[in-house]
Symmetry: C2
Subunit: 244 residues, 2 copies
């Protein structure tokens, strides 16, 4: 399983992915699911992947190969994030169709991709690309996307996140979303990859890898548990009619 979240906010973009892949519970490996591309001062492009590892590696392989060999269009030549999303959507369809007769129905080979970033002259953008190759774009109303095991970590994002949320608070919120998911589903696992992109910086961030026993992650995880426990205790006592 996988959990990836990406936020498109007023101040920029936030991306976090886990790294656990599993074929059955007895075959667990670590693979990076957050990938950064870019040309400094010109474009920053971040891709997060979930689903069949052979499919997602093939999609990334084509993207990297096309850049390396100068084939066009490639991620460094497309003039807009929209065309980057189209390109990745087509690649996903192509890769899946190479191993199956019916690309849409054979979901064992499927994958989902989050694509975020900024190309000079555009606003930062975030796309959720489906295995069918089509995609949707994050808006002010819906400033985040999740792929993979998304449900455990969704309530905190639903409650606490808005387009105007500052980047550092949004990062904390996303890390808590991950912490909840890690606790509830063993198939999502550390280390995590986190990356923050500040709007209009057009820098290519290296991001941070969060390993087990990361002091900051452990600290906020423990404090969050305390917040919830204390918060529950501080809620008003149930009214008498609950005891009927």
């Amino acid at each position: 399983m996988t959990y990836c979240v990406a936020l498109r906010l007023e101040e920029g973009l936030v991306f976090i992915s886990d790294t656990r892949t599993n074929a059955g519970v007895d075959h667990i490996s670590t693979f990076r699911k957050l990938h950064v591309f870019g040309v400094p001062a010109e474009r920053t492009i971040v891709i997060q992947t979930a689903g069949n590892l052979a499919t997602t590696q093939a999609v990334l392989g084509y993207l990297q190969n096309d850049i390396a060999l100068g084939k066009t269009p490639n991620l460094y030549s497309v003039p807009s994030m929209f065309e980057a999303a189209e390109m990745i959507g087509s690649l996903i369809r192509k890769v899946i169709s190479q191993v199956t007769d019916d690309s849409v129905e054979q979901m064992n080979y499927s994958c989902s991709v989050l694509l975020g970033g900024q190309i000079k002259g555009e606003e930062p953008q975030l796309y959720n690309i489906y295995p069918q190759g089509n995609f949707i774009k994050a808006t002010r109303d819906t400033p985040f996307f999740q792929i993979g095991e998304s449900k455990y970590g969704k309530p905190i994002l639903d409650r606490a996140l808005h387009f105007q949320t500052p980047l550092d608070e949004a990062l904390r919120c996303s890390l808590i979303s991950f912490d909840s998911t890690l606790r509830s589903n063993v198939s999502v696992g550390l280390p995590l990859d986190a990356l923050i992109y500040r709007k209009d910086s057009l820098m290519i961030p290296t991001g941070k890898r969060i390993y087990e026993h990361d002091p900051y992650f452990e600290d906020i995880s423990r404090k969050w548990s305390e917040t919830l426990r204390k918060g529950l205790q501080d809620l008003p006592t149930p009214t008498d009619d609950y005891w009927n």
Copy 2:
């Protein structure tokens, strides 16, 4: 969809169910999914259901019919909660097999049941009964079960709930679990049915129905959102290496 949660704690049992059923998003109805049986001073039995409504109504129909006509064994004659779980498991298999050739594979007709309660002479017990008719029992290590749309509301239970949690705190925790689920999945809906059973009381509680604009539920929902927002803001600022 459906969400039901049941807790077996040192002080007793807590049950909450939603009431929304839907066949497609344009065909939504309200049906009770929490059902109470009992003989005062002798046994209290609570059943929560998720899944195909015709299946769950048939299972409850057989249970009620057998009691009304004095057929044995029935829920009022079985000598233990274990035998009650066995009886309901058999009924589920029977009902599903009446409408399909292969009871286990035809999951469209399937249902899940939580069975909790106490029969005089026994400890309070809680069972999670699968569509195949087999079941598991809650223990001190795992004091709660969920059926239906369980993921959104699981993190708060995972973090805050233990066998020793007092009933009123466990009720608040369960209501917050429901609030998170209601916000994240529109197919789980108000009103809710909540019921608390105090260990060894052998009383038959009527429980409380929580309608929209219930003052207490709205109050804790609002306060919980404030707790989370403030909790996030109070978490320490991400370390510098997150901004690489």
